[in-house]
């Protein structure tokens, strides 16, 4: 039985990662794997922390791929009549750049943080459905790889990430690229959907005793909102993708204008998904910033309930503004006016967030670590993106701006300046929690400043380029329409392309930082390097497999801070005195560890089930026989899943640790 039995008086060393299991079960179909080390422990793991790391690593790999695609695009556009890419390759490049960054980097990166942090922040030992969690990761990975195999199988999708009909029909895009795109996104959609349900149930149902919803850390709140958006938005894109797949594979007529189809149907379905998707991308970063700013300001988040409700409001209003992506598409003035006003309305809760972040810093005690720098950077950069967003909520103005580089500038300030800066803030902030080591602050600051300078050089000039009338998605631009003087398009295009290089060096510094801090292995992180406030810091670095020795009881928002500090001021004066260190708090928890801790055993089936999906997808494109194989694996996986025992039998685990040193009776299981 996968149980950690422990005498309550025993103290566990903070570094103890139970890892002494000799699996003696073979590949018994209806037994569960028990490895806790080696590659099998990763392949079959259901541990939310391992899956979180895997999400992160995979997403970072796709970030690099998407970044290379972006640099090729900018290299092509550095001068007039660029020749680095052909028109065809260029179209594939910007399609895949967007697809990769949106679906394979930012979304899974948010999933990485959510997976790792949400159970820790709510004081749970794992997510609600660990096996489904593992399945979600593998589906995402296989889906991402599947989409990218199109590069070597006849060319990637070339219709833009918005994939407007009828340009996405076979007539206009005869290669298989769009088929790969459609099926790949269906697969990653399944991953997002399962992940979202899982995290909602976790946040709603697995909170530690005493953690009411209004005591939930703000990051978890934002993740909760995002998962609701996902749960309801993914089915919409699924419908659109299925219609497009039937159109391309089975000659359905949904987007065949000659049959009387209306191409605007696709646009509506896509943007009904696509607009909530924008908030899906950016709200996790807002959550991270709302965690980081209070910690380094030594102040609670200003107006926590307002931030919570504005997040929820953004999530809700986000459903009523999709057609602002279609102001030029001929909706008719009534619809345009309605959606224009609704779009302005959504600026209000977004503005509330910026105001609250600023006021969180106001009167604080600010320490500018790298994580903090990225968060402050986000406030500034996102504000620029938000304000340019206001200029095209004004529909007539938008008809001048949409599909120009001005829009490209806008959403990169939102997505790079919002989502990605937030992600990097989170990486620096939580790195010691996840890996037990601090990232180098000097390199980190270099990383930050290069990225800020790089992104402003890259995306700042795009405002000018766009307002001077250069459309998006053009594989080349011409000197004849570049103008002269200060607003010369050639100059600003070159600046923008040089900016990408600086940006790339900045990102490279991050990877160097990771390499440096892990190779030397010297900087073991203190338990609580930032003097943090929320529950994930009430456990070791990295957390034990079961997260908490004792499930904490929560008394307040910012529970950990209030356990560390006491208000000793009188007469309305506040004076905070440290009454405990985190080490001491942890020692208390360990001293009162729960007697029985059940953790789920690893499982073979998530990866098997997920593996069937790309097989099925290749089958749809190439060969029905392959589909049969995929379906067989799918059925096998489902029955294996359903019939698998809920835990590995006790006999599968070693009862006494071979390497000794601990008196614990530990049965671990990956």
């Amino acid at each position: 039985m996968a149980i950690i039995e422990r005498p309550t008086e025993t103290l566990v060393p903070a570094t103890a990662t139970p890892a002494y299991v000799t699996p003696d079960s073979g590949l018994g179909v209806f037994r569960r794997p028990v490895q806790s080390e080696g590659w099998k422990s990763w392949l079959f793991t259901v541990d939310h922390k391992k899956l979180g790391i895997m999400y992160g690593v995979t997403a970072m790999a796709f970030f690099v791929i998407g970044g290379i695609e972006a640099m090729l695009i900018r290299a092509q556009l550095a001068g007039p009549d660029g020749t680095i890419l052909s028109a065809d390759k260029y179209n594939q490049m910007f399609t895949m750049h967007a697809t990769t960054m949106v679906f394979l980097f930012v979304m899974p990166m948010a999933a990485a943080f959510a997976n790792y942090m949400v159970p820790l922040q709510v004081g749970a030992r794992d997510v609600a459905f660990p096996r489904i969690n593992a399945f979600g990761f593998w589906a995402f990975l296989f889906g991402g790889i599947f989409i990218n195999t199109s590069w070597i199988l006849g060319g990637a999708a070339d219709g833009g990430w918005f994939m407007y009909a009828p340009n996405s029909s076979v007539t206009f895009s005869p290669t298989n690229g769009i088929d790969f795109w459609v099926l790949g996104l269906l697969i990653t959609g399944i991953a997002s959907q399962t992940g979202a349900i899982n995290l909602i149930v976790t946040a709603l149902n697995m909170r530690a005793p005493g953690m009411s919803l209004m005591r939930m850390p703000i990051f978890t709140w934002m993740i909760l909102v995002v998962q609701f958006l996902l749960v309801f938005a993914i089915p919409v894109i699924t419908v659109a993708l299925v219609l497009l797949m039937f159109q391309r594979q089975f000659d359905a007529t949904f987007f065949s204008v000659e049959f009387g189809a209306d191409p605007l149907l696709w646009q509506h379905l896509f943007w009904i998904f696509g607009h909530p998707e924008v908030y899906i991308l950016v709200l996790p970063a807002f959550g991270i910033v709302s965690e980081v700013l209070p910690v380094f300001s030594k102040k609670p988040l200003f107006g926590y309930p307002f931030v919570v409700f504005s997040g929820a409001a953004i999530g809700f209003v986000g459903w009523g503004v999709w057609a602002h992506h279609m102001f030029a598409s001929g909706l008719g003035p009534v619809s345009v006016a309605v959606f224009s006003v609704a779009t302005m309305a959504i600026a209000v809760p977004t503005g509330v967030k910026i105001i609250n972040w600023t006021l969180t810093m106001w009167g604080g005690k600010l320490r500018f670590t790298t994580a903090m720098l990225f968060s402050v950077g986000l406030i500034i950069q996102f504000t620029i993106g938000g304000l340019s967003g206001v200029t095209h909520s004004v529909a007539p103005s938008d008809t001048q701006q949409t599909d120009t580089y001005y829009i490209v500038a806008h959403f990169h300030y939102v997505l790079f300046g919002g989502a990605i800066l937030g992600i990097f803030s989170g990486l620096y902030y939580w790195w010691p929690k996840v890996f037990g080591k601090l990232l180098n602050e000097t390199l980190g600051k270099g990383n930050f400043w290069l990225m800020i300078i790089g992104m402003n050089l890259t995306f700042g000039p795009m405002h000018i380029i766009g307002l001077q009338g250069q459309p998006r998605r053009m594989y080349r631009w011409t000197e004849a329409r570049a103008g002269e003087g200060f607003f010369n398009l050639g100059f600003w295009n070159l600046v923008s392309s040089i900016g990408t290089l600086i940006l790339a060096i900045g990102v490279l510094l991050f990877f160097i930082n990771v390499w440096v801090s892990h190779r030397k292995g010297t900087v073991a992180s203190p338990l609580d390097p930032w003097d943090a406030r929320s529950l994930e810091w009430l456990t070791s670095n990295p957390p034990k497999e079961h997260n908490f020795d004792r499930l904490p009881t929560v008394h307040a928002l910012d529970e950990v801070f209030h356990r560390k500090y006491e208000d000793v001021g009188t007469d309305g004066h506040h004076e905070y005195k440290q009454v405990a260190t985190t080490e001491e708090l942890l020692a208390i928890e360990e001293a009162n560890a729960d007697a029985h801790i059940h953790m789920p055993s690893p499982s073979y089936w998530p990866i098997v089930l997920a593996f069937s999906l790309p097989i099925l997808a290749y089958g749809v494109i190439y060969n029905l026989v392959l589909m049969v194989v995929g379906a067989a694996i799918l059925v096998l996986g489902m029955y294996g899943w359903a019939l698998e025992p809920s835990t590995a039998p006790e006999t599968d685990f070693d009862q006494s640790p071979p390497s000794g040193g601990s008196e614990l009776e530990v049965a671990s299981h990956g």
């Binding site: 919803l213 909760l224 609701f228 309801f232 605007l264 929820a312 909706l331 008719g332 619809s335």
Partner: protein, 113 residues
Amino acid sequence: MSTETVDHTTEAGHAEHDEHADHGWSDGKYIQLAVILAVITGLEVYASYADWLGPAFIPSLIIMMVVKFVAVVMFFMHLKFDNKIFSWLFYAGLFLAVGVYVALLVTFQFFNR
């Protein structure tokens, strides 16, 4: 968000009392409901042939459809007897779907303005 209704004060109470006790109706009542639903279905089919309904035809069909829908969800699916949070989760999706897709179909009507 739907989640604010979570009532923590009932937590202990829930843990103790038998969850199965509040599972609604006896079998007999379910059968009665099924008979009513069958009758409504019959009325629907009749309505689709009845000319005398005139302009009330489509509204009456929609009303009967909604009644059937609500009856199944409330009673067969126990939503009426269960914790409110389930209702919130389901209705969030349902009303979002109705709102968004009705708006979508309406924009197609406004196109020629």
